[in-house]
Symmetry: C2
Subunit: 429 residues, 2 copies
Amino acid sequence: MSGGVEMTAGTTSADTSPEAVMATMTRAARTAAAVLAQAPTAAKAAAIRAAAAAIRRQAEAILAANAADMAAADGLTPALKDRLLLTPARVEAMAAGLAAIAALPDPVGAVIAAWTTPNGLAFERVRVPLGVVGIVYESRPNVTADAGALAVMAGNAVILRGGSEAAASNAAIHACLVEGLAAAGLPTDAVQRVTCRDRAMVTAMLTAAGGIDVLIPRGGKGLVAHVLEHARVPVLAHLDGNNHVYVDAAADPAMAQAVVLDAKMRRTGVCGAMETLLVDRAYPAKAALLTALLDAGCEVRADAALLPLDLRLVPAQPLDWDTEYLDAVCAAAEVDGVAGAISHIAGHGSHHTDAVVTADLLVAERFIAEVDSAIVLHNASTQFADGGEFGFGGEIGIATGRLHARGPVALEGLTTYKNVVRGTGQVRG
Amino acid sequence: MSGGVEMTAGTTSADTSPEAVMATMTRAARTAAAVLAQAPTAAKAAAIRAAAAAIRRQAEAILAANAADMAAADGLTPALKDRLLLTPARVEAMAAGLAAIAALPDPVGAVIAAWTTPNGLAFERVRVPLGVVGIVYESRPNVTADAGALAVMAGNAVILRGGSEAAASNAAIHACLVEGLAAAGLPTDAVQRVTCRDRAMVTAMLTAAGGIDVLIPRGGKGLVAHVLEHARVPVLAHLDGNNHVYVDAAADPAMAQAVVLDAKMRRTGVCGAMETLLVDRAYPAKAALLTALLDAGCEVRADAALLPLDLRLVPAQPLDWDTEYLDAVCAAAEVDGVAGAISHIAGHGSHHTDAVVTADLLVAERFIAEVDSAIVLHNASTQFADGGEFGFGGEIGIATGRLHARGPVALEGLTTYKNVVRGTGQVRG
């Protein structure tokens, strides 16, 4: 667009303020997005496959960059260091992930709905890319590859702002994405990386209304809360995953135990992990269920009704019902049937993921209908809360807001639609 | 929810600050929304039909209230007075509109997508209500009826804040909606009206994150801009309808003239009206097209290329390309084919509604693909930009943002979805 040239000409070259840098990036992204929006599926897939090949070819350079990041990461907790670390297996998984994204069906151009109005107008709702996506993330360098590739496959341009602790790793991975775009003849500005480590660059992204169409924060609660509070751009995110498993009186005890143990203990640090166990007052195997959790190494903070069932149970404090531990800890409460569970979740849940275990289909359907969460499961572990597990072909994040995409956000969530009307000269008259 | 009672008990009765009043309203709305979300279609339709009956029965009281509003409306422009005015025919149209909404298919519970994952999880994406909708609007009292009924039919609770100039009219119509809810056994808090005329109540709505799920402003540009700038709640809206009609070289001149005249002159004050005419340099009947617009009483502000074609043409100034006149005025520019039109619209459009007139299907499809607007039309007037005309059964507004609903927002736009997973004891392991 010629406007970009004029605006650059009117700006002094000395203007390196975060706002000016971001404005330059978003203009370039908008121009690239217009090309990506029209790009054939084959070109987008070729770019992502070429990026995967580059990652495999550059694996040693990526690992060396990551080693430099790790060497400078003394202040990080062990959990964050593990997120930052790349290994040959993780680099290969990143490349394989890109190849999988390149094989996904292209959402762009799909006709979502179509009909003809009485006056002969042919109406179509057609899926189109969102435009310019901003990702603000921490620690895990694989987000650079995943998020960049998902955005491109959905026809968007993306601006990536990773944490400074992963700067060298992210730069090396970003270079592979750029190489892939160039190899496929697509504009390399479709995947831009914020290189300036000034936190004011994040603020410039949050306030880039008109320049960035949607922001997706990925990382700790501090980062997500900051983005949600300060963004003047729409945000897709989840702040908390305070997830519940409700074990109904009619649950099969073996199934209940397996689901609860998996939901809490498979991986305690993921956003789909169970944080509060709700047990029906009439469930016959309460002690066995709690004992199994305790035996698995989980600290269980129980309400007064459950506390006598095992000496290792700890009394729950009021805040426990609202806490996302992301650790081998959970709260546990006795509730009066499915109505009690629904009421507890309405008061304390975070609208992320909640599950019911029961053989009673009426109970299950009531739970599904009345629990107001992005993901509700019956007789399955909350740890399935993942776009890949649901068959979305990956995810760029999980959203607990109510607008646009809810739950795992993947290719479809990175698109919007256009209303297309084809007539034969109709006027409204 | 018992939480409401406790919080009320903890608040002194003297707290009548806008924030406290809005918090009380949003709590009541949330409780009502939980009931509406589970309400059968028949109950929602019965409430709306009963409201329509009440409006017909109370027509004289509504007209008397409107007369009081009109008597106090000295400061308003004639256009705003016309929007405020109710007549017996307008009251009947309002009732008929409600009856039409009650007959619409219920979007809630629809399964949008469904599949089974390889490990046997049955996945469903199910449409559910948005929750609590806030509407901030001006002048037209019929919005009270339309917006209230659409929100209820989609299973939501709604908080209505009309302009103080229409307070008596809105109160009379709101009473009919409440009567309809009560008659159908639904909670009357599902449609609440902000009665306090303090503008701080609008601010309290804009900042009611968690209390209001989405805000829909309807009214003048000043109101919409204020909401967009200050809202901490997601907004569905359009600020501008700077709409274009591009007349291609291959357009049938009679069709082009009919479409352009309708797009500009049918009703000049609607958001779907054409504001800029783009004419292909190679279009053979340029003078006749401009003359027809001028003869119809439209002021036409033309660029240098078109200016010599009719003595009545006025030279366009740079700002004209970005102006929504909402009047019998338009800008007109010559462009180089469809590429020139696409480029002009990319630089000046507002992503609302744009149309192409051409007999060349390749040109039409390129325009449809590359013009990035909520509504794109081929060989039809931009004045069709209306949910009712598209077959949505009315609209609560038109959105030009990219997330959630784009274009006319009706029942579907007032819903979100839930990811439902039914298993047989699956764990992720």
